[in-house]
């Protein structure tokens, strides 16, 4: 047995855009155990239900995170809409779907860039973020905000995407698809990329299920779970299958997210083709919610949970967001066991950690 020591990783670390701390118990250069700590930037957003009514909480929830902002708002609104028992207009469902998939593309491109940066491929990092700018431009054009959309409301959406903008979205999707095809060759075939990702940080399907991991992290280990198949927004009207891989390593996580980018492009095209030419954007909501509901949506990082409990008053009794990263940290710690110290940064990145979400 080699000499054991504890190396603190984070909360400030070059691969971490946000703070998480992990005590790495190492034996020589091998990690034996990883003990995580979160809570450095806990904001208590859930506690704001006392001060903000259920409509205002939409804005609060959207600000949980800058990357999955739209999906947070959508998940919360869908939960409250279930309590009210309202069915939002079809056009609003399609608009939510288009925005959700644009947001997923933005998130995955951001992650692919960070991953490339993590394994030292600077050029690839810039390529990913250059393409991501086009997606951010779409977000700004359609919602007015590059990151925080603020278009959701309980009962539907507040903004429309006119026909000329839908055409621009399709044109941009064509451009992004061509760029992604080129980037995909590098991510999937380049020797240096494969040498850093293949066979590293393997988790089996059984481990994933035992540790409750979600999203692309779980799908990369063969777990077929995609909450979009629950049928919220316009997903029941679109054709798609969850993308999975069986390998469970870093390469598989990269593969799943890259393929999901193409899937998002396809879903956006389907949604633009099927969106009703005109129609209401929202239904009128009368009164206050009374009841409780557990809503699940598929964010870019995986399944997110929204628990809403109301008693007929404007302020909710409880609103709880369980973010994907919160569910993925136990899987991360398991994955870190028995790996080389040099791979820790990359492994942390491959769960696509969003600590802002986690510290809601």
């Amino acid at each position: 047995m080699g000499k054991r020591s504890v190396i603190p990783f984070g909360p400030q670390h070059p691969v971490l855009p946000e703070p998480i701390h992990i005590d790495l118990v190492v034996e020589d250069e091998r990690v034996i155990e990883a003990i995580p700590s979160i809570g450095f930037i806990h904001r208590g957003l859930e506690g704001l239900v006392d001060k903000r009514d259920f409509n205002q909480m939409t804005y609060v929830v959207e600000r949980t995170c800058g990357i999955c902002s739209f999906q947070h708002g959508m998940g919360y609104c869908e939960a409250v809409e279930h309590i009210f028992g309202v069915d939002i207009p079809d056009r609003a469902k399609f608009l939510r779907t288009i925005w959700a998939e644009i947001g997923r593309m933005h998130s995955h491109l951001l992650w692919l860039g960070l991953l490339a940066d993590g394994f030292g491929f600077e050029n690839l990092f810039y390529q990913c973020w250059r393409v991501r700018e086009k997606v951010l431009d779409l977000q700004e054009m359609t919602s007015g905000g590059r990151l925080i959309f603020s278009v959701n409301k309980v009962g539907g959406v507040m903004k429309d995407i006119p026909a000329d903008m839908l055409k621009i979205i399709l044109t941009t999707m064509d451009e992004v698809e061509e760029e992604l095809k080129e980037m995909k060759k590098t991510f999937f075939n380049d020797y240096s990329v494969q040498s850093r990702l293949k066979g590293v940080g393997v988790l089996t399907k059984e481990q994933i299920n035992r540790l409750g991991a979600v999203g692309p992290f779980a799908r990369a280990s063969g777990v077929v779970s995609d909450m979009r198949t629950l049928g919220y927004a316009a997903y029941p009207m679109l054709d798609f299958e969850p993308i999975i891989s069986e390998d469970g390593d870093c390469y598989a996580r990269c593969y799943v997210r890259m393929q999901e980018l193409f899937q998002s492009i396809d879903l956006i095209r389907q949604a633009v083709a099927k969106i009703p030419a005109e129609g209401d954007l929202a239904v009128a909501i009368k009164g206050n919610p009374d009841g409780e509901y557990f809503m699940r949506v598929e964010q870019p990082r995986g399944e997110a949970f929204y628990y809403v409990k109301a008693n007929g008053k404007p302020n909710l009794q409880r609103m709880r967001v369980r973010t994907p990263t919160f569910a993925n940290v136990p899987g991360l710690c398991e994955m870190l066991k028995n790996t080389e110290l040099a791979d820790v940064g990359l492994l942390v990145l491959t769960i696509d950690p969003c600590i802002s979400c986690t510290e809601r």
Binding site: I35, S37, I38, G39, F40, H42, G44, E46, G47, D50, N209, R210, L211, G212, V223, V224, S225, M227, T229, L230, G231, Y235, P236, L238, D239, F240, E241, P242, Y293, F294, R296, E303, F305, Y307, K309, Q317, R318, R320, R322, F326, A327, V329, P330, E359
Partner: protein, 126 residues
């Protein structure tokens, strides 16, 4: 067209003593743990433990309602993934949970106030 499955959520109210038994039964029958959370409603803790079946997408919620003074067992021995959730319930709400596998001793979140969303908060409001 991909298959869309949207089963109704199940909410099963159980006694605190049955928590471990039902958690074990659900995990044995193929459900996996999804989340746990607390709410402080009308002077009692409402604890929700959610389990999902990824074959059918069925969500099964176990609901335990307890007095603030009541201590409940940790499910982390059965469900290792519940560590953060139980620490969170303990720190933010003051739920008394015994035998958490990895007990952060109120240091999961760096917050000054003890159990800011628990009974203490209600007392301050009154």
């Amino acid at each position: 067209m991909g298959e869309i499955r949207n089963p109704e959520n199940i909410l099963e109210v159980i006694e605190a003593d049955d928590l471990l038994k039902r958690s074990l039964e659900l995990t044995k029958s193929g459900y996996r743990f999804s989340q746990a959370c607390a709410a402080f409603v009308d002077g009692k803790f409402e604890l929700s433990y959610s389990f999902s079946d990824y074959e059918t997408y069925q969500l099964h919620n176990l609901r335990v309602v307890i007095d603030p003074a009541t201590e409940i067992p940790s499910i982390t021995e059965i469900v290792p993934a519940a560590v953060f959730y139980e620490n969170e319930m303990k720190e933010l709400f003051g739920v008394k949970i015994k035998m958490i596998n990895l007990d952060y001793e109120n240091k999961l979140y760096r917050i000054r106030q003890e159990a800011p969303m628990g009974p203490q908060k209600t007392e301050e409001e009154n």
